[in-house]
């Protein structure tokens, strides 16, 4: 213990003597770790957010495809699906996208007749009243983009053109807390949604199906496929699995793209650690001449590498956390938002725990220390006489 304390003190002195080189390596390491970790943190948080929502989606969503593109579902199909044994409820849904030229943005229009109720904590103002027409609840980003507040009225031109202009009173806006799901939403009555989207009576966008026994989704899917030509049924269980796989795959891909950066840093560290300066050579020569053994020099050099690695990796993890969960990932968020004019503030719930943090720090520090092992051994086995004379 005493020996290690002495060697650690020597390593600290060496760190300070070679502060320029060590600081450069620590900053590089922190930067690479921050990039890696930010992708990991962001992927985990998004996965958890989707997973938290996926518990509440209907067991099946029934759509129809014609020529490989989505088509409207006849309302009659809802009655046929409702008659299938095991089907608890069928909710015909009217929803779709409306391009709003004044804000150059796509708005998600949602008809909510029969599903108007929302907890008061979700909206500023109020939710739609049952059967209320000529009113809407807007997502916060959409309300901001339109420059409207609760009580204002907006005139929107529908997909059918000038004939489909609807004047809607804004009765509520979704709070920022739910912006990840509601940023671009315009919730209104089915009638107003039909007018805006150009969905004729007798048709709906899709059907939400609740089953008595969710495990029978496969059977119900087969029956629905036989009932509705061109039906595409999205099953809740499969959707949850697929989402997890997709987000894993994509964040994994981005992480893999960052691997060369880590490899380059380790190579740089190797290069820096291998090349001994004249002063280092003399220092090692003196240490060996006063009786330091190979293992003493080796341990001191490894302590030096470990201090740089753990400090760099820890700073990297902290920077990544602040970048993702405090600064809302500028740059990475831009990649997620793409060309969208409406997007929410990226307020995600951190999924970081102690085990993951430890694994991250150790996962970077251990290879870094290992890279320094051979140069440390070379330095430790220098002949003191040659070292003091400045010979290789």
């Amino acid at each position: 213990m005493k020996r290690h304390r002495a060697l650690l003190a020597h390593a600290l002195g060496a760190l300070v003597r070679r502060r320029g080189r060590n600081a450069a390596v620590a900053v590089g390491l922190a930067l690479v770790v921050a990039l890696f970790t930010a992708v990991l943190f962001l992927g985990d948080a998004l996965r958890a957010e989707v997973e938290a929502g996926a518990r509440h989606v209907p067991d099946l969503a029934v759509q129809r495809l014609v020529a490989g593109r989505p088509a409207l579902v006849p309302t009659d199909a809802a009655r046929a699906v409702a008659a299938i044994p095991g089907v608890r409820t069928v909710t015909p849904r009217v929803w779709g996208y409306l391009y709003a030229p004044p804000i150059s943005a796509n708005v998600t229009v949602l008809g909510a007749t029969g599903r108007e109720a929302l907890p008061p904590a979700v909206v500023a103002g109020r939710a739609l009243r049952p059967g209320e027409r000529g009113a809407c609840v807007l997502g916060a980003a959409l309300a901001d983009a339109l420059g409207v507040r609760v009580g204002d009225e907006i005139a929107l031109a529908g997909n059918a053109g000038a004939d489909a202009v609807r004047v809607l009173r804004v009765v509520g806006t979704f709070h920022d807390a739910s912006a990840l799901r509601t940023a671009d939403l315009l919730v209104t009555s089915d009638t107003d949604a039909r007018a805006l989207l150009g969905v004729a009576e007798g048709f709906v966008t899709d059907l939400a199906v609740a089953l008595s026994t969710p495990d029978e989704a496969r059977v119900a899917t087969d029956k629905i496929a036989r009932l509705i030509p061109g039906a595409r049924v999205v099953d809740k269980q499969r959707l949850r699995r697929a989402y997890a796989l997709t987000l894993d795959g994509r964040s994994g891909l981005l992480t893999a793209a960052l691997l060369p950066a880590l490899a380059a840093l380790l190579l740089l560290a190797w290069d820096r650690l291998t090349g001994l300066s004249e002063a280092e050579r003399r220092e090692l020569g003196v240490l060996k001449a006063v009786g330091w053994e190979v293992r003493d020099v080796l341990t001191a050099r490894l302590w030096e590498s470990a201090l740089v690695a753990f400090a760099g990796a820890t700073v990297g993890v902290l920077v990544a956390y602040v970048y993702v969960f405090v600064a809302q990932a500028p740059g990475l968020a831009g990649a997620l938002f793409g060309w969208s004019a409406l997007h929410p503030p990226l307020r995600l719930t951190p999924q970081v725990d102690a085990a993951q943090t430890l694994a991250l720090v150790a996962g970077v520090a251990v290879p870094f220390i290992a890279v320094g092992l051979v140069p440390a051994w070379r330095a430790a086995t220098l002949d003191p006489d040659r070292a003091l004379r400045g010979q290789a």
């Binding site: 989606v57 994509r250 719930t349």
Partner: protein, 122 residues
């Protein structure tokens, strides 16, 4: 500065830096835990359930530029490539969000029957 005087100061500085980093990690873990507790409050769970119940999909409103980015779970597999087969998605968000393709694995309800011109099926 003589070496004996410098060593304790260096040690103290190292301990201070180490303690600051450890405190930073501890603060990070506490903050993360508080965030999870906040998201798990009954009111937050109820709000989430109500909104997902209303929208009917778990999709996040990160990008509304294209329907396959806004509603990846409800878009058909070829949505991003509807205008030309295997056309790359031009929106940068297409690299991060897209229709979960794994959703369609094993989704075929009908078997493909092939009648071979010669001999038994291979």
């Amino acid at each position: 500065m003589s070496p004996p005087a410098r060593a304790p100061r260096l040690g103290a500085a190292a301990i201070a830096v180490g303690a600051a980093l450890a405190a930073g990690l501890a603060a990070m873990l506490i903050h993360a835990r508080a965030g999870r507790a906040e998201a798990d409050r009954p009111a937050a769970r109820q709000a989430r359930a109500a909104i997902v119940g209303l929208t009917g999909s778990p999709d996040l409103a990160l990008s509304s530029a294209s329907r396959w980015l806004r509603h990846p779970s409800l878009s058909e597999p070829g949505a991003a490539f509807a205008d030309a087969p295997a056309m790359p998605d031009t929106d940068p968000a297409g690299a991060a969000i897209a229709a979960p393709r794994a959703l369609f694995h094993g989704a075929a309800r009908e078997r493909l029957t092939v009648r071979r011109a010669h001999g038994a099926p291979r």
